[in-house]
Amino acid sequence: MLSGILIFNQKGENLIFRAFRSDCRPRLADIFRIQVISNPQVRSPILTLGSTTFSHVKHENIYLVAVTKSNANAALVFEFLYRLVMLGKSYFGKLDEEAVKNNFVLIYELLDEILDFGYPQNTDPDTLKMYITTEGVKSAIANSPTDSSRITQQATGAISWRRSDIKYRKNEAFVDVIEDVNLLMSATGTVLRADVNGQIVMRAYLSGTPECKFGLNDRLLLDTGESSSNMNNPGGGNGLSTSKTTRAAAGSVTLEDCQFHQCVKLGRFDADRIISFVPPDGEFELMRYRATENVNLPFKVHPIVREIGTTKVEYSVAIKANYSSKLFATNVVIRIPTPLNTAKTTERTSQGRAKYEPEQNNIVWKIARFSGQSEYVLNAEATLTTMTHQKAWSRPPLSLSFSLLMFTSSGLLVRYLKVFEKNNYSSVKWVRYMTRAGSYEIRF
């Protein structure tokens, strides 16, 4: 397990050094500084030297390092480091050198609480904030023994993520479906890879201990019982299930994989694909999912790039919006790579503005508002300086970023969100959909 947690700034100064085991010696900090921070050759987040393994994550301008001596679960180590970053953000707004220096006492206190003998304990920010506080995070709870015992009950209980005494005058729940659509298109225009990484973020302002049920237009769910029957007698009843699948195919989505917040009862999802949970208070990520079938690509891009001799490159990039004309995308940014030896560029666009950014070797074409079904074109020309050392241009892919409201690339819809609470109050629910570009790359 973890022998120690170290935090460094970019210069390699040790900001935090917390050893959890006697085998984490102070000079390990020097070793990490020499071997990783001041060594530009390092290409792996994991470095094993002798019997010591350093696993590090870089966040903002600091290195977070976990030292392990034994055969620790590497995935757990990194998840923990990321959780530490998340906790830092939740406590200080952001976790950078400044925040670490200003809050080092609190960070020691947190580390002491979330790791015991190197084993991670409860790392839920909402629970921790009840008894580890700063000026920024004031706990309403006094330091009295009775309160403390209640806190500790909760921190170790089966629903460690929720206080029991939450009250709201107006019970509301907001559901945001956010999809990152990834595309990799070859130079010939074939789609090499298209998939959607979605997340469903919920903001729950609900009183008491509500039990929620959440329904999507998940194909497997619509075929009730199909997945469970499959599980019990594998191979059997295939004919039946395929006919059901085709019937339900209209308007449903196949989710390749789902991951849930720890509040979701995984056993129930596994058995009958029902998402049921007691939500934490406030904002949390309810689930993540992945879809690879029938991905609707919101934008089609046709780049034509011609290298004319060694001194000029001509671009003609056409982009077409592939969604309903009632919708519009915002902040559409197209980055068009130019050769490293570009001297100057000229651009003409039918919409938006294009600008050459020499430090990025990109022509950046921005369209603030892109309504559905419209098509825009950019024509550009890059003049190159001659170089003594001619090397072929590697043509990095053209990339896109955008955000598009009320559209899901996977076609996912929220069918219902039911809230059951013993007080039987009525609650208001809101759903919002958004599609963003994940890694939307087009080769040319």
Binding site: T53, A74, F104, T152, E256, D257, R290, S439, R443
Partner: protein, 746 residues
């Protein structure tokens, strides 16, 4: 502001800082004392020695301020070692705190006591620990559970005597899931450090308890329980089925640590359940694994390493998911490299076109290292999938036509390997020969020369080409020199009329003007072989013998789990393969010439072949029906040693096998022997150690004379591993440990 003062501590230390801090620590104002404690902690973090303040800090321990208490405790943990006597002063406070009405303070006291690693403190721990283990608050109980592990680490005897282990075992039945998880954690830790305690015995009852807690405890607790389940060995089919059924839902957890631990547990228990069911589980684990590939890069890396291992055991689980592993332009290099390996692993004749197009794309990128690996991957695909070899060769030709220097060089090396397996592509040789002037790396030059030598009868100007190399013989690297030597001899044997002069020149250059013993030795053996007139075919039989095809993947065929378990079978093959070829070769030489040990070392090339493909070599040798006398066998063993120790130049030539950066060549077979076992560290330290010992016990017995050198090689092998880490990344630790043990053995 106070904040600014704290930040001030990061600046240059002022004179008399300790003095100032001390004054603050004994100040009459509480806030000044607290501030000084904070500054002291800050100085401690910066690596300054503030242990002199120990008594003054200690004075502040009795306080109602929880934050201040924590700071003092933190200081105590750090410096207790340097002031063991003074620690006693704190004992009273600890004992008192462990009975405080506030559970947070009780837990804090017991947690800190366990971290103060001073013998005297241990004596006072017994009572508080016993009480807190039975505390009414689950928060205190779960903290106390871990504290038992801390105590065991400090003083095992005391932990055993006081029955703390039994108490922990009972606590697996605790109603609170976190207490269960921490008890299991503590027992697991104790079990690993001292297996003889049998601390963690899983019965059907504890199994049931753990499975219940699994769905309720924190994500970290789940990892512990899942790990324990994975290590639990059962032959009971029902039990395995039950474990799989309860663990499989955890694939959907958001924490990748939980997902991988769950995959591991199911994977290991799956082999007990019936095949339909286990197929179903394989199908179920594929999507979550793919999902991990879109997480943060570091997590991705860990996931990819694990996927790589899983694929070795179950090559088909992801064969439809090739596209997922396509490299993104912005992926960090370590992720890209790993993805390349996985893509080669899941390549099959259906997705190969797509893969080749993608690899070709990568070969045109800018990162030189990545480009080389991409080119090498094309070669691996060709060797893996015979039906695709032509397309691979065409792709490589396209790349050669780009004229990008390093791409061309790598492509030639790869083509040499393809030639070795599929001899039918002579048509492209002229294209290759056109690049001859651009090659400046010894590997690429050696590869091209090998091709020329191998196809000397079909290349009309082979003599001219080789002549050019012979002229500059002394300027070449020794690996290239060796290839020139062999190629010229091959040419001579195939077309004596053309190369008579050439072969004399090269032998002259290699024997009289060269300092490298390997080159000279090889030249001498050729010289003698060529001057042997009794059997004119003997030389041909040796020099032009069929080359066993390459093997591009480690022949890891035994069980592989997310962290694999040892494979002994393969070890045997490796030695056998090398032996067999050696034996066959030695018979030749023995029969033809006077036995001489210098001659024997020159059979490195064959040996190397044997190393590259032990199985095929063994089969070939077996087909020949040779049986070596016991005497020869012994010689063989010695020879093997010599080769391992000194064969670097010859075997350093291209060996594009996946994974291990050229170090393979350096350490020879031992690396291969070590690699599977070394990748194994999965919580089976002892097991692993046994296996390693077993492996080297064998070879050690056979080659007592060279065991010292051999272990040196072993070290090489291991350090190679540490660099290219074969298994789950942070596992090398354990390997190192066993390594040390092996060393002490010798």
């Amino acid at each position: 502001m106070a904040m600014n003062k704290i930040r001030g501590a990061f600046t240059v230390p002022r004179k008399g800082e300790t003095f100032e801090l001390r004054a603050g620590l004994v100040s009459q104002y509480a806030y000044e004392r607290k501030e000084s404690i904070q500054k002291t902690i800050m100085a401690m973090t910066l690596g300054k020695d503030v242990s002199a303040l120990f008594p003054d800090v200690l004075k502040n321990i009795a306080t109602g301020d929880l934050e201040q208490k924590k700071l003092v405790y933190l200081y105590l943990m750090n410096y207790a070692k340097s002031h063991p006597d003074l620690c006693i002063l704190a004992v009273n406070t600890f004992v008192q705190d462990s009975e405080d009405p506030n559970p947070l303070i009780r837990a804090l006291a017991i947690r800190t006591m366990g971290c103060i690693r001073v013998d005297k403190m241990v004596d006072y721990m017994e009572e508080p620990l016993r009480k807190t283990l039975r505390d009414e608050s689950p928060y205190v109980r779960k903290t106390a559970a871990i504290c038992v592990a801390k105590l065991f680490d400090l003083n095992p005897a005391m932990a055993l005597e006081n029955g703390f282990l039994e108490m922990l075992q009972e606590m697996i039945g605790d109603p609170n899931p976190m207490v269960v998880a921490n008890s299991v954690t503590a027992l697991q830790e104790i079990h690993h450090t001292a297996p003889e305690t049998q601390a963690l015995q899983i019965t059907s009852n504890t199994l049931r308890k753990m499975l219940m807690a699994l769905n309720e405890c924190t994500e970290w607790g789940r990892v512990t329980i899942l790990t324990t389940l994975a290590e639990y060995k059962t032959s009971d089919v029902k039990e395995s089925e039950h474990i799989c059924e309860r663990v499989a839902p955890q694939f959907q957890h958001v924490n990748s640590g939980v997902v991988l631990a769950a995959v591991k547990a199911v994977f290991l228990h799956m082999k007990n359940v019936n095949s339909d069911l286990s197929k179903n589980y394989l199908k179920k684990m594929a999507p979550p694994l793919v999902t991990l590939v879109s997480s943060a890069p570091e997590v991705q890396y860990v996931a990819l390493r694990n996927i790589d291992l899983l694929l070795q055991k179950e090559p088909d689980i992801l064969n439809k998911e090739l596209r997922v592993f396509f490299c993104k332009y912005n992926d960090p290099p370590y992720v890209k490299f790993q993805k390349l390996e996985i893509m080669v692993r899941i390549a099959n004749d259906r997705n190969v076109d797509q893969l080749l197009a993608e690899l070709k794309e990568y070969a045109l990128e800018v990162d030189m290292d990545f480009v080389r690996r991409a080119v090498r991957a094309i070669g691996q695909v060709a060797i893996k999938i015979e039906s695709a070899s032509e397309r691979c060769v065409n792709t490589l030709l396209d790349l050669i036509n780009t004229k990008v220097n390093y791409v061309v060089q790598e492509a030639i090396v790869v083509i040499k390997d393809i030639f070795r397996k599929y001899p039918g592509y002579e048509g492209i040789i002229p294209t290759l020969c056109q690049c001859i002037d651009e090659l400046d790396e010894p590997n690429a030059r050696a590869a091209l020369i090998w091709i020329v030598g191998e196809y000397a009868e079909k290349i009309s100007n082979a003599g001219d080409i080789l002549g050019g190399f012979v002229d500059g013989f002394n300027e070449e690297f020794s690996s290239t020199q060796l290839q020139i030597l062999t190629a010229v001899v091959k040419l001579f044997l195939k077309r004596p009329e053309k190369a008579q002069g050439l072969v004399q020149r090269v032998l002259q250059a290699a024997t009289s003007e060269n300092d490298n013993p390997d080159v000279r030795d090889r030249a001498y053996i050729y010289w003698r072989l060529l001057s042997n007139t009794s059997d004119s075919n003997a030389t041909k039989n040796i020099v032009l013998s069929d080359k066993p095809p390459h093997r591009h993947h480690h022949p890891l065929t035994a069980t592989v789990a997310p962290r694999p378990t040892p494979f002994r079978t393969f070890v045997g093959h490796g030695r056998f393969g090398a032996d067999a070829v050696m034996r066959a070769a030695i018979e030749y030489v023995f029969n033809l010439l006077r036995p001489s040990s210098t001659l024997l070392t020159n059979l490195q090339e064959q040996l190397q072949n044997a190393r590259e493909n032990p199985l095929a070599a063994a089969a070939a040798a077996a087909a020949g029906g040779t049986t070596a006398p016991a005497q020869a066998q012994n010689n063989v063993e010695n020879l093997l040693d010599i080769d391992f120790d000194g064969g670097a130049p010859a075997s350093a030539q291209t060996e594009p096998s996946s994974g291990m950066s050229g170090l393979e060549g350096l350490a020879g077979t031992p690396v291969r022997v070590a690699s599977p076992a070394a990748g194994t560290t999965t919580g089976q330290a002892s097991n692993n150690l046994d296996d390693l010992l077993g492996v080297f016990g064998d070879s050690g017995a056979a080659q007592p004379s060279s065991s010292g050198a051999n272990s040196g090689d072993l070290m090489n092998g291991f350090s190679g591993l540490a660099l290219s880490g074969n298994a789950g990344p942070s596992q090398n630790n354990q390997t190192k440990k066993s390594n040390d043990d092996i060393l002490s053995l010798f």
